[in-house]
């Protein structure tokens, strides 16, 4: 059996008005996993608990079988890299921004990046296709380019687990697919474990091998896209009528929905016949 990169055991955490309760998640090494769920279901709260920004009340989060809480901040940053939804890095060049990923490896007294740091940064910038605009300012980049630079920065941390918070929101399909392809490539070539929060069910289905459906502060179901993306689960959680079929190209489940008007017409036809 493949050991888990991330294992969450009976986790409770949250805010006075919103709680995640009894969360259990196991993510094997080398997975490409997605957290899905409606707005306000607790995806971001769960994400923040894993990143360590939010304290936990009970339960455990194990990373490579080590308690995440007991890791020092530096060691944690060497193991988990995070790509947040919003990137604020206006006045620095892309290269300087990516080099920030080396901070967890620097001692307090090492003021200058070494050759190795530059080589590592260059490697991941080439891998994410950001090397060609390394001297431009972050603020001059488009949303998709910024997202790629943020991924390059995260990879420069050389993590075992890459966490992404809605990496494809605000992007057109060209950039959505480009970014997910880059992530898939990294997952396959380097065995990097990826966990991302993602809204688009069809993209989630297409790229992830594991899905975690969150609803009202609880895990509704965890499994393969085929197990999770059934019309029943989606209707239960999203309160929306959908049809699921397998994608003719990939064979993965694809989710279709229809407007209320169309649904009404279908109902009328059914009742007439």
């Amino acid at each position: 059996m493949i050991p888990n990169i991330l294992s969450i055991q009976s986790l409770c955490c949250g805010y006075p008005k919103f709680q995640l309760s009894n969360i259990k998640i196991d993510i094997p090494k080398g997975s490409f996993a997605g957290i899905i769920g409606p707005n306000g279901s607790g995806k971001t709260t769960l994400f923040r608990a894993i990143t360590g920004t939010l304290g936990i009340q009970s339960g455990k989060i194990l990373l490579n079988e080590q308690n995440l809480r007991k890791l020092s901040p530096r060691l944690r940053a060497q193991n988990i890299a995070i790509v947040s939804q919003f990137i604020e890095a206006g006045d620095m060049s892309v290269e300087d921004y990516v080099l920030m990923g080396r901070i967890p490896y620097h001692s307090r007294f090492s003021f200058f990046e070494g050759e190795e740091d530059f080589e590592i940064a260059q490697k991941y910038m080439e891998m994410t296709d950001t090397w060609r605009f390394k001297d431009r300012l972050m603020s001059e980049l488009s949303g998709g380019e910024q997202q790629l630079a943020a991924i390059a920065r995260a990879l420069t941390q050389q993590p075992h687990l890459l966490l992404l918070d809605e990496p494809t929101s605000h992007l057109d399909i060209t950039h959505q697919v480009h970014i997910l392809n880059v992530l898939q490539q990294l997952n396959q070539d380097m065995g990097l474990s990826v966990l991302m929060v993602i809204h688009d069910l069809n993209l989630a289905s297409e790229y992830c091998d594991q899905l975690i459906l969150v609803n009202q502060g609880k895990i509704h179901i965890q499994g393969t896209p085929e197990e999770v993306l059934t019309f029943q689960h989606i209707e239960d959680v999203y309160k929306t009528v959908v049809v699921t079929q397998s994608n003719p190209l990939s064979g993965k489940p694809a989710v279709f929905l229809a407007s209320r008007k169309v649904l009404k017409e279908i109902r009328e036809k059914l009742s007439n016949s």
Partner: protein, 340 residues
Amino acid sequence: MQKKYLQWIVYLSGLMVLLAASVVLSLSVGEMNLGFMDIFKILREGNTSMEYTILSQIRLPRVLLGIAVGGSLSLSGILLQGVYRNPLVEPYTLGISGGASLGVAFAIVFGLHQLIGSFILPASGFIGAFLIIFLVYTISSRSGRINIQSMLLTGVMVSFIASSSMMLLMATTNSENLHGIIFWIMGSLDEPDMSLIYITMVMAFASLVASYFFVQPLNALRLGEEKAKHLGINTDTTIKLLFLLASLLAGVCVAVAGVIGFVGLIIPHLMRLLVGSDYRILLVSSFLSGSIFLVLSDIIARTIISPNELPIGVITGIVGGIVFLIMMSRSTVRSLKTNG
């Protein structure tokens, strides 16, 4: 070597040369002008001549204090802007000048300087500044964690209370005390006590060295507090310690030289425009250019209406403000051109 590092070396050497030049200029200019070359000769020959007395007793102490205070205020400003990630924060925003002024006004109104001795003025200035820092700090860190925005607001409010209390003292005292308070508030590099100058210099350079222990957290904070945490930075400790360091620096400066405004706001901004936002170069270049700026301002302050002297805070405000506006509009024009 990386191009970036070479550039930094160029900036540093440039600033060093400028500082040396402004020191020489400051030593040579005054009621009695001395030739650049003569200065070294006079200093080497020793204490017989009048020129030597002018240099060693009057001009050199001023220059040394200018270097220390200018550097400290500017360093304090850049540290606070880094911590608060707000370009409008300067050492005085957080009530440090208000507290120091209140302390001094208190000492003058109640005649402490006549009772105890003149050193009580800087001492009470420092105590006033320190009490305010302590107050702002404890109010905003009750739960063990610091909320940066509420801390900023607390600082501004406490600052208002302190300066209003000082007004109250000023309104109720006699005109001689009033004059004393105003004279002190306007700020000056004229400090007869050499040991205070040494203390300020040691503080300034020690703080510059200490600030470099925080250079990586400061750089990481440019991405925001949460992202700095993701990079393994202990942001809470960093913010607390840097706040204390910057406040103490500003407190010492205000206690020794009075309220000299704008240095802590303008110099960090100018340096950002010039050398970029990487704190590894920004800290030391802000320090050096703060020193240069104050030494030059002091030359203007004491020569422009010679033999009388203008308060140095007036010069830093007017000259600094105008230079800054020019730089700003230039860089706006440039960025407008490049963007479209």
